[in-house]
């Protein structure tokens, strides 16, 4: 499964030891974006729950875990509905970050300025 999501049921003592933390930095970033935007009043907790509930129940597909991949899908949908971002803008910026990563020495922070096409 994606994002390190484990299956259910999970018998055994390891269940009680399982840490609840972010498995990758991007999960923490999505979480922080949602919480911060909610606290700022851009959407209410109920609106967020509805968006996430919808994102994990795609048409013609089984119900998905409410993991951070689906948090991202729900957040993008909410922001698009508010006219704040759209798929094209996010897609273009993502491509720039991927190019920036490629151009960034291993271990150095990946900055958008490292994109060879940045500013052109």
């Amino acid at each position: 499964m994606k994002d390190g999501e484990a299956a259910f049921p999970f018998a055994g003592p390891s269940l009680f030891e399982e840490p609840s933390r972010f498995s990758e930095p991007w999960e923490a970033q999505v979480f922080a974006l949602v919480m911060t935007l909610q606290e700022a009043g851009l959407f209410t907790p109920a609106e967020w729950a509805r968006a996430l509930g919808k994102a994990i129940r795609p048409e013609n597909a089984p119900e998905a875990p409410a993991d951070y991949t689906h948090w991202l899908i729900a957040l993008e949908a909410l922001l698009a509905a508010r006219g704040i971002t759209d798929a094209a803008l996010i897609g273009a910026r993502s491509a720039a970050f991927l190019r920036a990563a490629e151009a960034t020495p291993h271990g150095a922070p990946i900055l958008i300025e490292n994109d060879p096409r940045y500013g052109r």
Binding site: G4, P9, E24, W26, L72, G107
Partner: protein
């Protein structure tokens, strides 16, 4: 799927998975447009990674075990009672604490998505967000508890509480027998995250070394 760590790749450059790039993109757009402040994002992540967690809920439970008046306030209006201990969120969620009794065991789920009492338990475990838990907690709670190794007497009634965006449930487990001499901190150490979701019980007191 791009591998992004612990694998051979071009040593000269960094790698970013497509989803990580998408999140970076979204974040940078929101920062540019002034919707979020990068320092606030970092602070929130640090708070959830290092401060907020089930130890907060365990403090609430232990206080309720030693202080009957607090227990009453907690069960009547959980959010302000929890705030007495310096624990609380900035969100609009209301906390409701449901007490286990010899007759009734409580179990918490969010059938819609993954609503969870962040402020007292931190981040939800992976299984809490999984479709099987969301579905089965309601239709077969006893079976779910069995998967967690928790077998309750047949006579014990199981009540399932469905968390929502605005109403977050936490279970107040029963104080284990044989813990009369423990102080509040020692009691808190017996309270696991799962005991406060209802998929577990507090640890029995370990014999003195």
């Amino acid at each position: 799927m791009t591998q992004h760590h612990d694998h051979d790749h071009d040593e000269a450059s960094s790698t970013l998975s497509p989803i990580a790039a998408r999140v970076r993109a979204l974040e940078s757009i929101l920062i540019e447009k002034g919707y979020v402040d990068p320092a606030a994002l970092d602070a929130l992540i640090a708070r959830y990674e290092t401060q907020v967690g089930p130890h907060d809920g365990a403090r609430v439970v232990a206080r309720a075990w030693v202080d009957p008046a607090f227990r009453e306030r907690l069960l009547n209006a959980a959010t302000p009672a929890i705030a007495e201990l310096g624990i609380g969120g900035r969100g609009g969620e209301h906390m409701v604490v449901v007490a286990n009794t010899p007759e009734t065991h409580n179990l918490v789920v969010c059938t819609l998505c993954s609503c969870y009492p962040w402020t007292v338990l931190g981040l939800p475990p992976v299984w809490y967000k999984s479709p099987p838990y969301r579905a089965r907690a309601v239709i077969d709670p006893r079976g779910v508890l069995g998967d967690f190794g928790l077998v309750l007497p047949d006579a014990t009634r199981i009540t399932v509480w469905d968390s929502t965006a605005e109403l977050r449930y936490m279970v107040l487990p029963m104080r284990p027998p044989g813990t009369e001499t423990l102080d509040e901190m020692q009691l808190a150490a017996l309270v696991s995250r799962d005991a406060m979701i209802g998929t577990g019980l507090p640890a029995a007191r370990e014999s003195e070394a």
